[in-house]
């Protein structure tokens, strides 16, 4: 497979500096597919990045609908497969109210499973070759990684001006 490119990594201490930097570099072609790192999901970052709405929602919807259909079909089909009368309740549509339970439960179940799936897929998870640029990103530091940039390059300067705590060159692996 192709090697993952090296580049410049800027580490920030403060959230506002990070968001400034993000706003500055937004849309600039020389910052193409840069990555922003954050220990948690600050809304400021969301706003600064303003991504399109996440497609995870479609996964959820699909899962939920599948669940509903499965639930009702299962219960009703079983009734038609071997109709039995219990407590004066006839099989089939007569007993439909009872089947809302399984319908509902499977809706939630499938919906939930698909949501997780969506989250993993969209987040490119799991990724076995986890490329940890800086362990502090899961602690208290923010960072911006610009691929194919150099320390003396103009992108590095920009990131520096925004108050980067340090700027490192990341080797291509």
């Amino acid at each position: 497979m192709k090697r993952r490119p090296g580049g410049v990594l800027a580490v920030y201490r403060y959230l506002d500096q990070l968001t400034d930097a993000m706003k500055k570099i937004k849309g600039r072609s020389d910052f193409d597919d840069h990555e922003v790192f954050s220990p948690t999901s600050y809304h400021e970052i969301e706003e600064a990045a303003d991504y399109p709405p996440s497609p995870v929602r479609y996964f959820t919807l699909a899962g939920a609908l599948t669940g509903t259909i499965t639930g009702f079909t299962l219960a009703l089909w079983i009734d038609y497969d071997w109709p039995l009368v219990v407590g004066g309740k006839l099989a089939g549509l007569y007993s439909l109210p009872a089947y809302f339970i399984v319908g509902f439960e499977l809706t939630i179940l499938f919906g939930g499973l698909m949501t997780i799936l969506g989250m993993l897929v969209m987040g490119r998870l799991p990724n076995p070759k986890q490329r940890i640029l800086d362990p502090r990103f899961t602690d208290d530091r923010f960072g911006i990684f610009v691929p194919n940039a150099t320390l003396d390059g103009e992108q590095a300067n920009l990131l520096k001006q925004c108050g980067a705590e340090e700027i490192r060159l990341i080797e291509s692996v």
Partner: protein
């Protein structure tokens, strides 16, 4: 409310603080763990005895065909409600305080539901058949489960609830596991790395993560409310006086949340002490938890009252007969324990001083747990004991079998919960950071 929280820590201290539990734990921890293991052994051997001899080793009889085991089942399912409630519903309400407690609450939920799930198996007469006749497995005879039976609803509700809670809990764990990975070396690093799927914390990942988490919360919310409603239908769907009432679902849900929150509090206090979390689980958070408990306690109080009123107002001799006996009959003791523990004692929490007095609050929380156990015991046993035909009346006496299995269940629960406390972040670090002061360069 967390506006008034006085943090004397910054987010930089979070990981060090929270993950201290990966280091050498408090001696209390080992004591507790050994105790729990002993309980598990007691429970397991009792179960073995039951399977080899027969369910008759428990006190159940005619007409009380359900007893302590189903009480335990409902009790543990109830405990299992706080977790997802706190993580899901309070998440949607953006109640900041939940960020400090949701992790342990979710863990509690998962283990409680697993414990509860054991009891239907323990209590059936022929476990070996129940295992494959409950779920709708294709078979040559085309014999299927009865989807009109509340017990099958239960099967679906509980298993769904378990799955979703598990996912929810684990999803929250992923970023934290990543931060552990980034702190440890060697094999541990590998293990945690695998467990966190290789989370990197890029803004994109956070973006989808947030979306997913939101949807999951939206799904889990109705689920929380449905599960205990369905458990309540186990009773409400039969025509027993004392069971066959429409108030059961809300009443059970309220009760579940009450017991859940009380249990969260009961667990948080020792854990907070054991792993020195006082700086992160602030008194304000505990107080918020207590307020929620107090609210549900009043709801439960109301439910009890309504039950009695309806029984009296219906003019149904059988219905009223059961409630009369509950209050002043052979089961009066259990009833009044239940009333005092669930409705009377929590009322002291109306005073702020009491809410903030950890010792008192802990006692009350424990009492609520006791009370909620007795509530289920009441509902199950006293309704069955003396129902319609006086000629068929009889009474229930718990036996060593019942006690052994109950003790076992508590051991089983605490065993897993302690393991969790030892190897996982007890507080959701990434979410904790969210509610702490943001790291800003220009001090406003």
């Amino acid at each position: 409310m967390s506006e008034e929280v006085k943090w004397n820590k910054t987010i930089s201290d979070v990981n060090d603080g929270i993950l201290s539990n990966l280091g050498k734990p408090h001696p209390m921890f080992y004591a507790a763990w050994i105790a729990s293991i002993i309980c598990v052994i007691i429970g397991a051997s009792t179960w073995a005895w039951e399977i080899s001899v027969g369910i008759g080793i428990t006190g159940k009889t005619s007409p009380v065909y359900w007893g302590v085991l189903i009480t335990d089942f409902v009790f543990w399912v109830g405990i299992g409600h706080a977790g997802t409630l706190i993580s899901a519903i309070l998440f949607l309400f953006r109640a900041k305080w939940r960020n400090t407690v949701n992790r342990s609450a979710e863990a509690m939920t998962v283990f409680a539901v697993i414990t509860a799930g054991l009891f239907p198996l323990i209590h059936v007469g022929r476990l070996w058949l129940a295992l494959y006749w409950f779920p709708p497995l294709p078979n040559t005879n085309n014999i299927w489960p009865n989807f009109r039976s509340p017990l099958v609803w239960d099967l679906f509700a509980i298993s769904t609830y378990l799955t979703i809670s598990l996912l929810f809990w684990y999803m929250g764990l992923v970023p934290d596991l990543a931060s552990i990975r980034d702190r440890v070396k060697g094999l541990k690093r590998l293990v945690y790395g695998v467990m966190c799927f290789g989370w990197r914390g890029t803004a994109k990942q956070w973006h989808h993560y947030e979306a997913g988490y939101g949807f999951l919360a939206a799904l889990a919310t109705p689920l929380v409310l449905s599960v205990h409603s369905i458990v309540s239908w186990d009773f409400a769907m039969s025509i027993q006086p004392g069971w066959h009432t429409t108030i059961f679902p809300p009443y059970f849900v309220a009760g579940a949340i009450l017991s859940g929150c009380a249990m969260v509090y009961t667990l948080l206090i020792p854990v907070r002490k054991m792993f020195r979390m006082e700086e992160f689980i602030r008194p304000e958070h505990l107080e918020a938890c207590i307020k929620l408990t107090l609210l549900t306690s009043t709801i439960v109080f109301y439910a009890y009252a309504v039950e009695f009123f309806v029984a009296w107002y219906s003019g149904n001799a059988y219905e009223w007969g059961v409630f009369e006996k509950r209050a002043i009959g052979p089961y009066a003791f259990y009833f009044w324990v239940m009333v005092f523990c669930n409705c009377i004692f929590p009322m002291i929490w109306w005073s702020k001083a009491m809410r903030n007095n950890v010792a008192v609050s802990l006692v009350v929380a424990v009492l609520i747990n006791v009370g909620m156990w007795f509530e289920r015991y009441n509902i199950i046993v006293s309704s069955l004991a003396e129902d319609f035909l006086p000629g068929s009346w009889g009474h229930f006496q718990p036996t060593w079998g019942d006690i052994g299995l109950t003790v076992g269940s508590f051991g089983w629960f605490s065993f897993w919960f302690l393991i969790f406390c030892r190897f996982f972040p007890i507080v959701s670090m990434s979410e904790l950071k969210l509610i702490m002061p943001k790291p800003l360069s220009k001090k406003h």
